[in-house]
Symmetry: C2
Subunit: 373 residues, 2 copies
Amino acid sequence: MTGKVRVELGPRSYFIHIGHGLMSRLGELVREAIPDLTRLLVVADAGAATWGEAALRALREAGLAAEVTTVPGGERCKTLAVAAAVWEACLDARLDRRSAIVAVGGGAAGDLAGFVAATYQRGIAFVQVPTTLLAMVDASVGGKVAINLPRAKNMVGAFHQPRLVVADLSTLSTLPDREYRSGLAEVVKHGMIRDRGLFQLLETEAQAVLDRDPEVMAGVVERNCRIKGAVVSADEREGGFRTVLNLGHTVGHAVEALAGRLERDGGPGDDGLLHGECVAIGLVAAARLSARSGVLAQPDLPERLETLLRRFGLPVRLPPGVDPAAVEAAMAYDKKATGGQLRWVLPVRIGQVQVTPYVLPEDVRAVLEELRS
Amino acid sequence: MTGKVRVELGPRSYFIHIGHGLMSRLGELVREAIPDLTRLLVVADAGAATWGEAALRALREAGLAAEVTTVPGGERCKTLAVAAAVWEACLDARLDRRSAIVAVGGGAAGDLAGFVAATYQRGIAFVQVPTTLLAMVDASVGGKVAINLPRAKNMVGAFHQPRLVVADLSTLSTLPDREYRSGLAEVVKHGMIRDRGLFQLLETEAQAVLDRDPEVMAGVVERNCRIKGAVVSADEREGGFRTVLNLGHTVGHAVEALAGRLERDGGPGDDGLLHGECVAIGLVAAARLSARSGVLAQPDLPERLETLLRRFGLPVRLPPGVDPAAVEAAMAYDKKATGGQLRWVLPVRIGQVQVTPYVLPEDVRAVLEELRS
């Protein structure tokens, strides 16, 4: 059972293939998507090293010249130092302008590998092979690639569309539980933005989703890719409409920056939150802010949202030690700020959001206070 | 006396302004080209620090919020370390998505600053203010931006068009003689590729050109920008036709890599050649290779070319210590190689070139042997 979603972007259109066991067909799919290919470099994150080897094998079995390089898992790979190492690996693998980079792993590895592909020889072809739920439903689709600066996330990057996305659902079976649940936050987000039916499905099929039921999840991932693909088609370079995808990310990114900071400053590493966990907190904040700002048209939304997120084992309050005032300060750094003004994405009802800069600072403060743990 | 050349690239079209004393009008020109601008960062190379200050002053006098940062002059600024410092400077200057970077200096500073602009927040606006002849007639037009990897030039970059180019010819008066002459190599190249009249003008007006006669040079620079602009319009991303601009660069880049290497390995620093000097040698090599390959239709071309380059004080033989075999090896690294094959640009007659992969290795070897000093 495999599905196929086309992301319409004129000459940069591409297919997302979704199904169980697709990895073995990777070589054939790559050949089809990029006909005149010379060589490939697989960039696999350490957490997906086995899948990186599987990808390499599949490419070579299809007669393609491929090498592999491994990068640290998670956000730690999104540094200039790792990018420099991968650029060197491109030279070692003798990649030229008709070569491609294949990212195998989570969203962070895809962001890093995509940035390297966007800039190596001024841009070469790029294939996403997401192996986490988060990467499948979000990061691997849309062409936003980036690395972090020490002070700010995703500050250096590009818009560089993949030529192909291959989501092998088999990879989900090896995903640690916490990472899987983290990915569900973006799934909930997509339902909130554009798909009331998806949100309701998550509510009614919560246990099957948590059990990673193959059939249910094939449908869920495909539905998510359709939503993300449609939004990206409408606004490739985030001129306006694509901003809706930032639902939950204004507060989410700020929490992520702070939770990461605790970790760096020598606190216990397990204080750090995963991206989806931060987004979950951000979604709750956005719902409450929407109510306070008079944007919300569906009064039961905040409670249904919190119930669903809790059901998925996701946090709905700020982590201990993260101060509301610090979150406010961190938001000022948010790259979404254009001309010093934040653009908030607020839910109107399940399946519909509104983008607005008109949010009162005291409302933001009050919501963050409510979320203090 | 100011001229204006439009580079036609659809929604990315822009103007090149050419004239004496334009720096004082920079603020007004920037406002016109980029209406809704928040803040600017001037990136000036150390060799053009005075012009960087002048640019900063002009921007501030026009009521724009601007900061300045200085980078090393020449190729030394095209490193990852310098890029990292400029990204940090962008954060310090609080640049957002509606901000711009203004490159003031030579081609290398423009390449570096352009790469930072192409990637900071996934791409912000970019203005080129070239202060060397080389940058005015070549690097500042066309949107090819890049930094170097230790092993290979221009290996990490992007296509990122400037929103405006301001070539203030007054800056040429402070340019060291050797740098000025180096810039003339690209001027000769443009004549060879597309403009027989320009080549003849350089022959008849050689002394005025060397004297930096304001009127003659205004015409020469404008004519060069028109040629470069027309080629770029026809092939923005170097899919094919733009390759003609690589005339003299296959051998030129290899010589540059080797001459630079001598310098790095602790040899005398003055062994290093400037970019234009390497291109001059590469032009001579291309002309001779064209004759040997049976492509040349104008027998007096190689001699006229060498005479003109010598008149401009440019080298027409390999520098002492650079071995023909080493040049051959270095060409293998050339990024123009796609699929392991070099695409040579060979002159047919003055004003016309041909792109071909069909060049015999023994002919290349013979030509390089002829050029041994």
